[in-house]
Symmetry: C2
Subunit: 163 residues, 2 copies
Amino acid sequence: MSATKITAPEGQPFVDIEREFDAPRELVLRAYREPELIKQWLGPRQYEMRIDRWDARDGGEYRYVHTDGTNEYAFHGVFHSFDMDSMVQTFEFEGAPGHVSLDTQVLEDLGNGRTRVKGHSVFMSVADRDAMVEAGMKVGVEDGFNRLDELLPTLRTPVGAAS
Amino acid sequence: MSATKITAPEGQPFVDIEREFDAPRELVLRAYREPELIKQWLGPRQYEMRIDRWDARDGGEYRYVHTDGTNEYAFHGVFHSFDMDSMVQTFEFEGAPGHVSLDTQVLEDLGNGRTRVKGHSVFMSVADRDAMVEAGMKVGVEDGFNRLDELLPTLRTPVGAAS
């Protein structure tokens, strides 16, 4: 399992996140784009994720809810652009309406079946960025990536499966 | 006519824009939200503006084209949140796909029928911000605001018009 690198430079309204996965880029892409897969890894381990909307196209909307059975935390945004190896989307926690970030994910093919995910999120202000970091972003991101690490091997087509 | 204040601090991925208008906030809001009005002021004076999509709601898409008869410059994005006095939207010039900014407009009621517009745009990188500033953003913004200054008085209901 790789380490997650989170960088939040003082006085700048952004966060950078990097993590490597021992899986080819096609699989990591699928895990980021297919709602049935994303439900299985995005966010802290103790929450169930329910997806209300997931229109994965340039201009499409999404909304999802994390719940521990008692509390619900809802998030929504729009996908802005999709590429073979990157995506851009907005992100808003409905508990803090009007505070939006713009998130870019780039998936780098490292060869040898490995992939690096580079996330860059810009916020409306340094205060918004700091609030997100202090709200426990690190734990959520780390938990999610660890779950993704567990999910990815299960997506491989077993050798000889079609025979 | 008021001066436009544009601030692009060195090494930071954002631009701030401020301008005051001699019109009440309701009128300025209409000029920002109604496509038939926005066509009349947004962007440089020498271009016609054609609006292909304008779905003014949280999660709605927009697309418009500036043309001088020969060249066409297309832009698209999504509206993210609307409030009585603010809006958040993404913005992408189709000539530079994948380079998106997140723009916030806040309309402040200054009393005495005057309104201050405060725009804050964050970019994916300082390089993206610099490219936008160097692409002549200042001229486009200034031209647009001057046209808005001319448009706003024509939106007032003349005293006694209904009698």
